[in-house]
Symmetry: C2
Subunit: 142 residues, 2 copies
DNA sequence: ATAATACATTATATTTATTCTAAACTGTTG
DNA sequence: CAACAGTTTAGAATAAATATAATGTATTAT
């Protein structure tokens, strides 16, 4: 199966051996029809539901972080109590609904390129993220 | 003292009675010559150093969050283990140095206005933040 | 193959930021 | 000064994330 080879490749490039558990994590993350957002807890739950193998929290944490280091996943900058991740690593941004604690993608085409004119000596920009916080639009309240 | 009146006003508008502890918090936050970034832990440490009164963690958390609700402070969206806050509530953005865990302001003039063309029905945008993550620029490594 | 070695997985414990709680305290009002 | 509403506080509770150490699994060289 071609997919499986891709996963093994991703794992090897992340410095991880391709094991049953890690391949299962890859399947959930990269087999989905659409990209999606998730927390570690949600990811564990998905794996539990669709797999007959058990994967521990520690393995999920380690694997997700290895993928982030490598750029196969993105962490979404948010002040939530848990970390949110994204399988969509292309250039795009997010709405965060503060009332429902929900993330919504903003397609790259819907935001003009963010052009930062200032630079920091000796540093380069690794990523630029736009977070637009949204709330209910009740004209009544201020 | 004029300052003190401002603090009492801010506290009242945030739905809090002006008490010794809360006024001390205001002094540290709003008396500074320049705006600054802080974590709760850092704020507590500053208060301990320059005040002769004791303020508990709980009071600091409650007061800071009341000010954020009211817009007197901003929370900076970041996936750090602790929350970062900003006494600068004007429209501006941030670099986050991932290696030194340091925040650097980006002046509004240094970023073109972020114009989001997409809207969500029934929702309005409450804030737009740009986070640019930076790392050392070693040409040698990829 | 098999032994030796290196890496993985797991359950559990630990750490740490944040929130909750209940008791003691303060200040205001009748 | 008694009653009351709101505050402060220390410490407990919660929960995410990380570390640990024992056990399990894969790989390598012989």
């Amino acid at each position: 199966m071609a997919h499986s080879d891709q996963y093994i490749d991703k794992l090897r490039k992340s410095g991880l051996r391709p094991t049953k558990q890690r391949i299962k994590i890859c399947e959930v993350l990269f087999d989905a029809e659409k990209t999606f957002h998730f927390t570690i807890k949600e990811l564990v739950k998905i794996i539990e539901n669709q797999a007959n193998i058990k994967v521990s929290l520690a393995t999920v944490y380690n694997t997700v972080h290895a993928f982030i280091r490598k750029g196969y996943l993105k962490e979404i900058p948010l002040n939530a109590s848990q970390s949110y991740f994204d399988t969509n690593v292309t250039h795009h941004h997010h709405f965060f609904d503060e009332e429902e604690n929900k993330l919504i993608d903003i397609h790259q085409d819907d935001v003009d390129e963010v052009n930062i004119k200032r630079t920091i000596p000796g540093k380069k920009i690794r990523s630029v993220e736009v977070i637009a916080k949204i709330v209910s639009d009740n004209q009544s309240q201020k």
